[in-house]
């Protein structure tokens, strides 16, 4: 398959290890990965903060960049983020319609129909749960709210993790509770966000896991920031980073810059 990668703005700038891992993983599985360089952001932050007018050019850029997927130039678009996939699927059309751009809204729908979050792409589209990964560490998984409730990824990420050789998956108490990130919520309601974070950090520490994984670097940045501040030593890693790790090219939790070298 020819698969276009929407890296997400936050991972592109701050957590390149995640999209790099997606490239490594998909190429290992025999697929071709394309990175359309015109991409920037899906517009979620603007929409969710209420700046719809400012969201319009951002959304238009995303839709234009990925429109070729609707013409068959690529077979699918993959996004290493549940919330960005959710925004692409549920918000972009609405933003463009609201801006009086019906043709672009239709294009957005066509792109959204071929856009998948990583675990969806692997399990539903590529039909694999065992990706041949090796990761001999104790791991706990946080289902991020948007992948859980907007996308309904269900247990796909856990099925992928259970198939990883050497990986010990430990359940997280109150896993489905929000970590308190919520995009600009973490700034506008910083105290409440921090209180939610405290509980999530305590539950993660309770598992005794070495690594906390999730399908979204935004939530991982938040929980990871809390884990780091509390001096817990638990490492946040994107699901894709774990799935990219093999015996031949192992990824070590402590070594974030090492991914996919």
């Amino acid at each position: 398959m020819r698969i276009a990668l929407a890296a997400t703005c936050i991972a592109d700038a701050m957590f390149p290890q995640a999209p790099k891992a997606v490239v490594t993983l998909l190429e290992r599985l025999g697929h071709e990965v394309v990175f359309p360089p015109a991409q920037a952001c899906c517009g979620q932050m603007h929409v969710n903060t209420g700046y719809l007018a400012e969201a319009v050019p951002v959304v238009r850029n995303h839709v234009r960049t990925f429109a070729p997927v609707a013409d068959g130039e690529w077979d699918a678009v993959v996004v290493p983020s549940g919330s960005c996939t959710g925004s692409i699927r549920h918000q972009q059309r609405m933003v463009l319609e609201g801006a009086g751009l019906p043709a672009e809204a239709r294009a957005a729908t066509a792109v959204a129909e071929r856009t998948y979050e990583l675990s969806e792409l692997l399990v539903d589209v590529l039909g694999v749960t065992d990706v041949g990964a090796w990761f001999p560490h104790r791991v706990t998984y946080h289902p991020t709210c948007h992948s859980l409730r907007m996308l309904g990824v269900g247990d796909k990420p856990e099925r992928l993790l259970r198939a990883v050789e050497g990986l010990e998956l430990v359940p997280l108490e109150q896993a489905e509770g929000c970590c308190g990130f919520g995009g600009t919520f973490s700034l506008k309601n910083a105290d409440t966000s921090a209180a939610m974070l405290d509980d999530k950090v305590a539950n993660v520490v309770e598992t005794g896991a070495e690594v906390l994984t999730a399908g979204d670097w935004s939530c991982l940045m938040h929980i990871g920031g809390g884990l780091s501040r509390a001096g817990t030593g638990v490492r946040p890693m994107h699901l894709g980073e774990i799935l990219a790790s093999t015996r031949e090219a192992p990824v070590h939790p402590a070594d974030r810059e090492e991914v996919s070298r």
């Binding site: 890296a7 703005c9 592109d12 700038a13 701050m14 957590f15 390149p16 290890q17 999209p19 790099k20 490239v23 990175f35 359309p36 360089p37 991409q39 920037a40 952001c41 932050m45 603007h46 969710n48 903060t49 209420g50 700046y51 719809l52 400012e54 969201a55 951002v58 850029n61 960049t65 549920h90 918000q91 709210c145 948007h146 409730r149 907007m150 489905e176 509770g177 929000c178 308190g180 990130f181 919520g182 995009g183 919520f185 700034l187 309601n189 910083a190 105290d191 409440t192 966000s193 921090a194 209180a195 939610m196 974070l197 940045m221 938040h222 990871g224 920031g225 809390g226 780091s228 501040r229």
Partner: protein, 505 residues
């Protein structure tokens, strides 16, 4: 331990205990406007978060009720079909509201009831006060009702020299403590048993002096206290959970039997009901009587549901008044995106699953409607600028449990856009900063080339990182680093790495 959550705008000399300063029992006092009081949400939340006792009370209570709800909802094989039906019935009601209200009025009148229309809180309060005064009584018993909370009926009656006695246990606790409810279903959820014992001992004249904090004993003390009132009251005031247009039947769903006492024993019953509480036909109740109890108290069915149609000769009140209340509802109705907030059946399931509500409690919302539903309903009812649409992480747990499928996260997003528009006309300093930041981000994120340059900017922060993390940033970054570290930005962005890789090929 007190639960003082910020000083709301006070009604001068009002409330059941005007001599007691608000806060002596941890109550927040009775606000001037029950839909808008207290500090801003972030400030009120901050104060609430500092109250360890409150957080424990809320955490225990919401966890308990969440578990109960999940268990009894799991028992129902056709739950999703019931939600679809409930949502569609409510949408149908809104579409046909004028016609259905007129039908209801006709049927209630035919059965001996009197229907009144109230445009706003003041008009509703005036109608009720006049009806009570005509009965020459200075005390009325009340069934817990959100509509009468919303219009501040008790305070309005107090001004006329009429004491309104709340008979729901939690409402009684709140009233005695000169407090405000902090939950739609369990108004005293912020109080633990010891606080309640103290409130009873100080404010309930006939409380046994050796009262302990065992919940059964507290409940029995309330039973004894209220029974005298029930037996002597001439007028009762209630809300309504449902009104059936086709038959003129009203329904009140409750647990304790205080509702039955009020709806049955006094000679006169006055029911105040929001205009959206309608269902078209009697059979529609079969949907809501399944959805509501399981969503609210987590029971298969609440202990008591009363249904009455006008006046039944020889049985129950012989005079019945129905007050139909607008008070902002038509404003909500006018908003196509937000009008489904009027589907709400006040079950409070969204509060119990909300991670924000669970941490900060109901008072932080500064409205009788707290939690996720309050965050959409309150700003729509008042039409004022509000920070409530931002009091959510958009985690979606509320939508998942809503028995009438109100897409609260999407409405929150719509309302945020409205807030931005409202801020546009009279921006404060904060609004200007956000606007500027969002404009700049929009520029940078609407083009791949511009973003390539922008994405490299964080790299500069590597200069202040230590051991791979940044622990302190200047404002507004400090909002982040106050509670969390920021990882050191990478040496190279993803797209630069990709470009380099492509070049090497």
């Amino acid at each position: 331990m007190s639960t003082f959550l910020g000083m709301p705008a006070m009604r001068a000399g009002r409330g059941p205990s005007p001599d007691a300063a608000p806060g002596t029992l941890g109550g927040v006092g009775r606000p001037e406007d029950p839909l808008h009081w207290g500090a801003t949400f972030p400030d009120a939340a901050k104060a609430a978060l500092e109250n360890e006792q409150l957080r424990r009370n809320l955490g225990n209570a919401t966890r308990t009720i969440r578990t109960k709800r999940a268990r009894v909802v799991g028992e129902v094989p056709d739950w999703e079909a019931l939600r679809d039906a409930g949502s569609a019935i409510k949408a149908d009601v809104l579409a046909r509201l004028p016609e259905l209200l007129e039908t209801l009025e006709r049927n209630v009148t035919a059965r001996g009831g009197v229907v009144h229309w109230a445009r706003d809180a003041a008009e509703a309060n005036r109608i009720v006060a006049d009806l009570v005064r005509a009965k020459e009584t200075d005390e009325v018993v009340k069934v817990k009702s959100m509509a009468t909370q919303e219009i501040g009926l008790n305070e309005a009656l107090a001004e006329e020299g009429i004491a309104a006695v709340e008979t729901d246990l939690a409402e009684l606790i709140v009233q005695l403590a000169d407090d405000m409810p902090s939950h739609i279903l369990v108004p005293a959820i912020h109080r633990n048993r010891t606080e309640i014992r103290d409130i009873f001992l100080e404010r309930m004249a006939d409380a046994p002096p050796d009262l302990t904090d065992v919940p059964r004993e507290l409940a029995m003390a309330a039973r004894a206290h209220l029974r005298r009132k029930f037996l002597s009251a001439k007028v009762a005031i209630s809300g309504a959970n449902f009104a059936v247009a086709d038959t003129g039947t009203l329904a009140v769903v409750e647990s304790e039997g205080n509702g039955r006492m009020c709806l049955t024993l006094p000679e006169t019953l006055i029911t105040v009901m929001g205009i959206e509480k309608l269902v078209p036909t009697f059979d529609d109740l079969e949907v809501f009587l399944q959805l509501l109890p399981r969503s609210s108290t987590g029971e298969r069915m609440n202990p008591y549901t009363s249904m009455w149609t006008g006046v039944t000769p020889g049985d129950g009140p012989q005079e019945f008044h129905l007050v139909l209340l607008d008070n902002g509802r038509t404003k909500v109705l006018a908003d196509e995106a937000g009008r489904s907030a009027l589907h709400c059946i006040r079950c409070s399931a969204c509060l119990n699953v909300c991670p924000v509500y669970e941490r900060v409690g109901g008072h932080a919302y500064g409205s009788v409607y707290p939690g996720p539903i309050g965050a959409i309903l309150t700003p729509q009812l008042t039409g004022e600028k509000s920070d409530l649409p931002y009091a959510s992480t958009l985690c979606g747990a509320c939508y998942e449990v809503c028995p009438v499928k109100i897409d609260i996260p999407s409405i929150l997003v719509e309302l945020r856009a409205r807030e931005v528009a409202l801020a546009g006309s009279a921006p404060d300093a904060g609004d200007r900063v956000w606007k500027a930041a969002m404009k700049a981000a929009s520029f940078a994120m609407a083009d791949g080339d511009r973003f390539r340059r922008a994405a490299r900017v964080p790299r500069a922060l590597r200069a202040i990182s230590r051991h791979g993390v940044i622990k302190r940033l200047p404002f507004p970054g400090s909002l982040w680093t106050r509670s969390r570290d920021l990882p050191e930005p990478p040496k190279q962005t993803f797209r630069d790495w990709w470009a380099e890789r492509e070049d090497e090929r």
